[in-house]
């Protein structure tokens, strides 16, 4: 591919200006606002107005009050990401190497279910996992679940919902990575007497790492911040950080605390992304 020479001059600035300004005004500046809000005096309210008092104590307060949902979000997010990786890898591998001329069709089918609304899909899961639903009845029949056990309103339902809803974010990057692998390399390892398991861990897996890294990030980030699954499929004991932020903003009107939690969430995710990407050695992704 011939490297296109980049032109200098005014035109470049004119082209980037409108989009860049939009992002500055409605992404960068709001984030600054959020940080400022998180430092307002906690005694402020919608009616009395807020006062900036550099109240770093807000951060201490929210960590003390909400460390549980915070930890739970990370745990649910990580678990869902793990299940997505397992399911997504199988699917992406099958499409990349075993699907023959049905490749395009299968790829379309991978994204097709996710064209219905996120909320409608989650409501479907609510129905599927309901107490008298097919899934629960079957599991009770084979005694995996006891007669009084339920699935809905448990951590299991929340993680299952997260896994389902973010699966395509895992499958697509994995497929992109796997599809680039020359299948002859895998065959060569077979010729050299590697058994399929060894061939997978020595050849396929390392070559697919860029897809694994971007897939896990693309799944983990929205899963940690999500609150729809926890709201529809969970109960009060499965509240995630998103639920807390949402209700602090809309119900409790405690803007400083909500702001502080959002900032913490953003910093946590940025820190994890940087560490993870460094360790996995795929910095070109950023």
């Amino acid at each position: 591919m011939a490297e296109t020479t980049r032109r200098k001059g005014r035109v470049g600035y004119l082209l980037i200006l409108p989009g860049g300004l939009w992002l500055l005004l409605f992404f960068a500046f709001p984030f600054y606002s959020l940080v400022a809000t998180s430092l307002y005096d906690p005694s402020g309210s919608d009616f009395r107005g807020y006062e900036m008092s550099y109240a770093f104590g807000n951060y201490v307060d929210v960590i003390r009050d909400y460390w549980q949902p915070m930890l739970r979000s990370l745990l649910y997010g990580a678990t869902a990401t793990f299940f997505c990786l397992v399911l997504g890898y199988v699917l992406a591998y099958a499409i990349a190497f075993k699907s023959g001329r049905w490749k395009v069709l299968l790829l379309v089918l991978v994204i097709a279910p996710f064209f219905t609304s996120f909320l409608i899909r989650t409501l479907s899961w609510k129905l599927l996992l309901a107490d008298d639903g097919f899934v629960v009845d079957t599991l009770q029949f084979v005694h995996i679940l006891g007669a009084d056990d339920r699935l809905l309103a448990t951590p299991f339902a929340v993680v299952a919902g997260l896994t389902y809803n973010f699966l395509p974010f895992m499958v697509l990057p994995l497929f992109a990575s796997l599809d680039k692998i020359d299948y002859r390399l895998i065959e060569a390892s077979g010729d050299l007497y590697a058994n399929p398991v060894r061939a997978f861990f020595k050849v396929t897996w390392p070559l697919s790492l860029p897809g694994v890294v971007s897939g896990t990030l693309l799944t983990f980030i929205p899963a940690v911040g999500d609150f729809i699954n926890a709201e529809i499929l969970g109960n009060t004991n499965t509240r995630m950080i998103g639920n807390v932020i949402q209700s602090l903003f809309t119900d409790a009107n405690d803007y400083p605390a909500a702001g502080a939690l959002s900032v913490i969430l953003m910093l946590m995710i940025l820190a994890m992304v940087i560490v993870y990407v460094r360790r996995a050695g795929t910095e070109e992704l950023l």
Partner: protein
Amino acid sequence: MTDLQDPQPGARARPVAQGGAPRPPRPTPTPTPARAPRGDLVGWLKDHLVLILGLLVLAYTFVPIAVVVLMSFNQPLSEQSKIYQFQGFTLDNWLNPCEDPSMCEALGRSIEIGLLATLVATVLGTLAAFAMVRHEFVGRSTSNLLIFLPMAAPEIVLGSSLLAMFVASGLAGQLGFWTILVAHIMFCLSFVVVTVRARLAGMDDNLEQAAMDLYATPAQTFWRITFPLVFPGILGAALLSFSLSFDDFIITNLNSGNTTTFPMYVYGVSRRTVPMQINVIGTVMIVVSIAIVVAGELNNRRRRVSL
């Protein structure tokens, strides 16, 4: 599946060599360790294990979709009924999709916001993508970061940032249509830039050079050569924008004031009695999007043949 008719279970790599279009044809001197042909079921299962597991995962992703389609034919739930379950077949929901007018109002608003946000985000994003790929300017890496970060930030953070800004600038009472639109344009923008940039970066400028050599003016070159070549990328970006905007709940919910979009309507009814019409909309959405994808693919094939 072709594999079902495959008479030689030993030749398991064959379908790949047929289907992997971009891969060069594999020279087939058969050094693969010859496996004893197994006619039995166990052998066949072993050879197709990954494909079968993959198809099972795919089937799993369609389970809730089946529920949506099924429930779109469900009889309405009684007001008291807290249980969301199938009660009996009816076509009523399809015949009267707007039985609850507030649902169709919310749907119309979502489509309106989706179209406007797509239009603005696609134009601004395409311009920015051209700048990033084709032009040199001070602040390139900052722009890059500014485009990347909104995609890496969880939605709840984007939403609460915007809300914090609107409130701080005294717009708390003005939340509604316009604040939703502004937010949607913001998060669609990055996805447009990335999509169009990928298309532009994969394109060399030989054809454009040739057009210029043949005395085309810069404007002619752009509209006759560059734009048609980038257009599929722009179209893809626009479709992505629309579906992101149409489906967004978290950011919208924080910045909507009293305005209701379709996802917000669904969220609202999920706590009360669910009208079955939402499943009609869900079914229509999936059918329309599959039709668009299939039409695009057919169009691609036709073009490839005619070239």
